[in-house]
Structures are given as C-alpha cells and as structure tokens.
C-alpha cells in the first residue's frame, strides 16, 4: 500500500518537474551562464519553503509514517570529498542538462535519447561502486 502511495506522489513529481521547466537543458545552460533568474528562483523558493516547513515539522514533533519524528543526519563532513563529488556531478549536469530526477521525467516526456543518459548514469554508478574504496573520503 505504501508503495502505491509513492507511485501516486510520483505523478505530481513528473508534472512539477516538467511544468517548472527544470528538466530543460536550455534552462540549465541559461542558469550556468547567469542569464536568467528562473532556475535560481525555483531552487531558492523550494529551499526556503522547505527550510520553514522542516523547522515547523521538527518543532511540532510531527510523527512520520515510519513512526519517528522528522530528523536528518547529514553525511560526515569532508570538504574535499563534497567538492570533488559535486564537481564531477556538475560536469555531467552541464553536459546533459539533466540531473537524475529530470532524466526519468524526460524519458516520460518521450525523449528516447535520454535512455543514453540513463545508461551513462547506470555505468557511472556501477563504476563508483567498483572503486569506492579508492576514492578520497
């Protein structure tokens, strides 16, 4: 039943990603060239609204479906790792104009070429799994 609920909430996810245009390669290029406020607006509003909501949920000690209160444990701080990993991801984001969510959503929008992005992401994930111990932590 819970899986069905996640399927149902996935539907607005696909619609929101499409209609807010964050799946557009052109929007991502425009963002990295600082030629429009659009992407900064979308992400900025999402973050600020998210911060307020999480603050309220934590303060009100709201219980989630897993029966626990809203909590978040950040990954251990390692500046070198975060910057390196983020940069690798950013290079791919600038090339494809799509992060993982938009990849799936673009596929639903009928862009079959995105199967190549997904294949690339699959291979990249596999490669990371194979060299995980060799990467600076």
């Amino acid at each position: 039943m819970k899986n069905l609920a996640f399927f149902l909430i996935g539907i607005p996810f696909g619609i929101i990603m499409t209609k807010s245009e964050v799946i557009s390669w052109f929007r991502i290029t425009e963002m990295f060239r600082f030629e429009s406020f659009h992407m900064y607006g979308v992400i900025g509003v999402a973050v600020v609204a998210g911060m307020i909501a999480m603050f309220v949920l934590k303060g009100a000690r709201v219980k989630t479906w897993s029966g626990t209160e809203v909590a978040y444990t950040p990954m251990p701080l390692s500046i070198k790792r975060h910057l390196l990993a983020g940069s690798i991801f950013g290079i791919g984001w600038a090339i494809t104009g799509a992060c993982p969510g938009p990849m799936w959503v673009l596929l639903g929008n009928g862009f079959w070429i995105v199967l190549i992005y997904i294949l690339g992401a699959f291979l990249g994930t596999w490669a990371y799994g194979a060299v995980t111990h060799k990467m600076p932590q």
Partner: protein, 194 residues
C-alpha cells in the same frame, strides 16, 4: 480558460519552487527523503552488481518505494506531454538564445519536439558524437551522485532544507563543475559535436 489550460501554461518559478517544497514535505511525512539518484544504484543491484561488488548488495525491498516513485514520475511526465503541454517552447533569455545560436544550437522553437527540453540537434541517435557525449555526461552524473551521496534533489533541496553543511558544500561543487564545463569547455567542444 479551463483548468487544464491554466495548468498547461508555463509555470512561474515561485510556483515551481513551492510545488517542489510541498513534494519534499509530503515525502518527509511519508517517512522518506526526497532524492532520486539512488534509483541508479537500485538498477545496478537489479542487474546483479551485488554479486561482485558489496556496495550493491542492498536489500531491494527497502528501495521499492523509490522505484515506484520514479515510475510515477514517468507517468506524470506522460500525462504532462499529452494533456498539459505548453502552447509555447521554454522561454529562455534572448542572450542564451544568441549564445547557443552562435554555437550552432538553434532556439527550441525549431526543436522537432517544439518544447525546448533537449537540444535534439546535438543529442539524437543519428549523431554518434552526441550519443557518446550524452553517455559521458550521464556517467559523470551517476558517478558524482554516488560519490557525493546525493544529487540535486537530495542535496540542493532536502539537504539544504535541513541546513546540512555537507549538502551546501556539495551544491557549491555542482556549480564548480557546471561553471567550468559551461564557460571553459562547452563553448569550444559543442560546435565539434554537431
């Protein structure tokens, strides 16, 4: 104007941002965190990567929610393209249009899909250089997301909402890589790939 026509218009960025925050809150209340890149890890496990690499030896049952969420996302996109399609292509700024035209990538209007989501002149199955480039781009996304333990949704949205410092530094990394590519590499590389 019908409600469908109203939703079909391009959304203001504030509406998009609020909708994403609502989604992230809903998933939090459902006991999970908004984040999509782990779906590729699950794909690797499905493909049998866990037999050789312990990193992929995960309990697939714990990840079913994510894969059904992603499947819902694909269905949502199918609904968008059939019933909520914008009358106009993505309205990017004139300076971006001019810059891309100079590289040989025309304004989305001439995109065969007419949406302005994918630069189909570059990324199409008839252009092998574009296909290889797309594969490389995807590889970086997949590798970076796992090494960084999250992507745009997990770090930029969920992590920052929880004031996580590692997420903030990772997002700065997204921009270091993205700005380097966009300003230093792509202006010279893209024309060679068309």
């Amino acid at each position: 104007m019908t409600i469908l026509e109203w939703i079909s218009q391009p959304w203001h960025w504030a509406v998009g941002g609020l909708a994403i925050a609502l989604l992230s809150v809903a998933m939090t209340l459902m006991g999970r965190k908004f984040g999509v890149s782990s779906s590729f890890k699950v794909l690797c496990s499905w493909a049998g990567a866990g037999k050789k690499i312990p990193y992929f030896d995960i309990n697939l049952k714990d990840n079913r929610w994510l894969m059904t969420f992603v499947a819902g996302g694909v269905l949502g996109a199918i609904i968008s393209v059939h019933y909520l399609r914008s009358p106009e292509p993505v309205a990017i700024s004139q300076s971006t249009i001019d810059y891309l035209a100079g590289l040989g990538i025309a304004y989305p209007e001439s995109d065969e899909s007419g949406l302005g989501f994918v630069p189909t002149v570059l990324f199409n199955f008839a252009n092998w250089k574009g296909v290889v480039f797309a594969l490389i781009g995807g590889f970086f996304v997949g590798f970076g997301a796992r090494y960084g333990e999250g992507c745009t949704s997990g770090h930029a949205i969920t992590g920052l909402s929880h004031l996580s410092l590692p997420s903030l530094i990772t997002v700065i990394g997204f921009f270091i890589g993205g700005l380097f590519m966009t300003w230093v590499v792509l202006p010279y590389l893209l024309p060679l790939l068309l």
